[in-house]
């Protein structure tokens, strides 16, 4: 077992990182060889494992395996360094992810401060910024100097869906590691090996999720997620009827709201209670003075998290829908690519026969426009309704 094991179908990337980790070791030993740099930008579509790659690289940088002395490559996966880095408890590895919509200037300043510290373990101070795509413009600017000229042993690992999601000024300061969409077979293998999912289900989930490992895993394990997906994929067949289409849009948005409520029910109450206790509230009585601001801050955070959950859920549905029309387009153009929704072959054929490739492209464009609209704060129901109605004519 090595730290690279969970990197599915990314052989080239693993090779590049392995070389860099080797070079990093040489730097530690005082030999100035190339191959290592202080800022990396991992890019790849959602769920293909940008964060996994970044963590694996972080682990390899912290690897302290005794075998290294015998000429083994760093990244053994079971030494102290690798293990704690992978599980997120290593003292010199900071993993920053957000449950909210964006990462602001305030959090980022703190990150810059941490980046200036000398690594406690004497190796590398690694900062993994999993949601670099969610940095606000201001926050990105705060990072510029720290990324350009970090302290000697500091390494920045940023993850974003694509190069365009990072500010140009950040992009130009990083070495890009582009992950590709892993083949469905590789994803299915991982699901079987890591999660013990049976082959048929693994194959279905892998092809249905189009290379997104996280969502493939959820599809394979979660009955409700499969139900939701099936529901979403019925939309193309009902868009001809305005009433049904509007009802489907309503259901989609309701399901997303339901998800957000679920997350809130799981976390909000407990968080609030914990904070109240930490601030010294007794029972249900009045809060000590001067604590209202902190409570309000938590409330805001919870609200933002609810919005994020709702958007993520809608986004998944829209991605599934895009995949459906992508299959339609593949059929219309007789492209020899595997279909993501082979189980719905009858529906795909019907729509492919009764519409033109141009219409299909316009439909895909409508779905993408809906994602942009939701991102721009348009009321979700309105955006989704406008989309399903546009799908009607194409």
């Amino acid at each position: 077992m090595t730290v690279w094991d969970d990197l599915v179908g990314q052989d080239r990337v693993a090779e590049q990182l392995r070389t860099a980790a080797g070079a990093a070791r040489a730097v530690l030993a005082g030999e100035g060889v190339g191959g290592m740099t202080h800022a990396w930008l991992f890019t790849g579509p959602p769920g293909v494992g940008t964060a996994t790659a970044a963590r694996a690289f972080a682990a390899a940088l912290q690897c302290v395996s005794p075998d290294l002395a015998l000429g083994a490559e760093p990244g053994c996966g079971h030494c102290d360094g690798c293990h704690t880095a992978l599980t997120g408890t290593h003292a010199d590895v900071d993993v920053v992810a957000t449950e909210l919509l964006s990462i602001g200037v305030k959090e980022t300043r703190d990150l810059v401060r941490r980046a200036a510290m000398t690594p406690a373990g004497g190796r590398w101070q690694v900062i993994v910024l999993e949601d670099a795509g969610r940095l606000t413009e201001g926050a990105g600017n705060v990072l510029l100097k720290a990324i350009e000229e970090p302290a000697d042993r500091t390494v920045w690992l940023l993850c974003a869906p694509s190069l365009e999601d990072a500010l140009p000024t950040i992009r130009s300061r990083c070495r890009n590691v582009a992950l590709r969409t892993p083949p469905a077979g590789a994803v299915a293998d991982l699901l079987m090996r890591r999660d013990g999912i049976d082959p048929a289900m693994a194959a279905f989930a892998a092809s249905a999720s189009g290379g997104d490992i996280k969502s493939a895993r959820r599809l394979a394990l979660d009955e409700q997620a499969r139900g939701r997906r099936a529901d979403v994929l019925r939309i193309p067949m009902v868009v001809g009827d305005i009433g049904l289409a509007m009802a489907a849009a309503q259901r989609l948005v309701d399901a997303a709201a339901e998800d957000a409520k679920q997350v809130a029910a799981d976390l909000d109450g407990r968080e609030t209670e914990e904070l109240r206790a930490a601030l010294g509230a007794v029972g249900a009585g009045r809060m000590p003075s001067g604590t209202a601001g902190v409570m309000k801050e938590l409330e805001n955070k919870q609200k933002k998290r609810a919005t994020r959950t709702q958007r993520d859920c809608l986004d998944r549905a829209l991605v599934d829908l895009t995949a459906f029309y992508r299959d339609v387009l593949a059929l219309q153009l007789r492209a020899a690519v595997p279909l993501a929704n082979d189980v719905l072959r009858a529906d795909l054929d019907t729509i492919a026969r009764t519409s033109t490739p141009e219409a299909t492209l316009r439909r895909i464009e409508a779905i993408l426009a809906c994602r942009r609209a939701i991102d721009a704060n348009v009321a979700p129901l309105l955006a989704v309704e406008a989309m399903v109605l546009t799908l009607r004519t194409g």
Partner: protein, 329 residues
Amino acid sequence: MLARVARRTQDDPLAPVTLVVGPEELLVDRAIGEVVRAVRAQDPDADVRDLAPGALQAGMLSELASPSLFGERKVIVIRSAQDLGADLAGEVKKLIADPADEIVLVLAHLGGPKGKNLLDAVRKVGVREVTCPKVTKVGDRVAFARSEFRVAGRSLTEDACRALVEAIGNDLRELASACSQLMADTDGVVDEEVVARYYSGVAEASSFTVADKTVEGRTAEALEQLRWALSVGVAPVMVTSALAQSVRQIARVGAASRNARPNDLARDLGMPPWKVDRVRQQLRGWTPDGIVRALCAVADADAAVKGGGTDPAYALEKAVVTVSTVRNI
């Protein structure tokens, strides 16, 4: 018509205790003023103590209620009686149970559940009560304006009355002062033209009026309402959400069977039955393609007012024009 908004149980303003119950401030003030005037008419030297909320301190009431040296009459007005603490409420109850001769007590109470204990206790004694319920309906406000004129011995036409209420809006106090201003400025019967000379425009244009006019295809009226709504401070996002709601209802009611009973449809679509009827009237002229384009236009406007565009007013106007003209496509 004033009787509808201020019902009197026992009509003697000189009763030792008057209980004024209700949230409508103007009517409360008038009820209090009526008592004060009645007392002053009898005794011009009467001492009037109008206690603002919170001005009453413990023990003060018995001091105020004690007989004065020259035996002049005294009016004690206690406002916001619902906010009195238990001690003060006790003092008030004692005073009411054993009224002094020359004291006229006016107790103003909001009438809600707060301080209900005091309210019940005072009612039990059997005092003169004036109720001042909130005037919420447009019809009631029209009736109020008409009665204002009648009490002053003037008259105004039905249309004038409506125009005035529309121009002034919800605040009864403003309506009353507008009425007295009109009476002072004009002679004879006040008609719509006279009202229009002094008051024009609409005080409360809501996003829903804009949306209704828009989906009914009345472009000019919708635009006018939109301008009014924006100028009285309706947030642009409220307009887009009202527009979205209207178009959505058109789409959903329009897609449902024409033979479905309003009640069934209302349950299925989650809106009140009268709304279903209303939407069915608005449906005329709408086609599926029109609905699609209308909804997309509203979605674009929503993005524009939420920071996607530079001028929310323009985005809204564009949406209103598009939605109201895509019918019949």
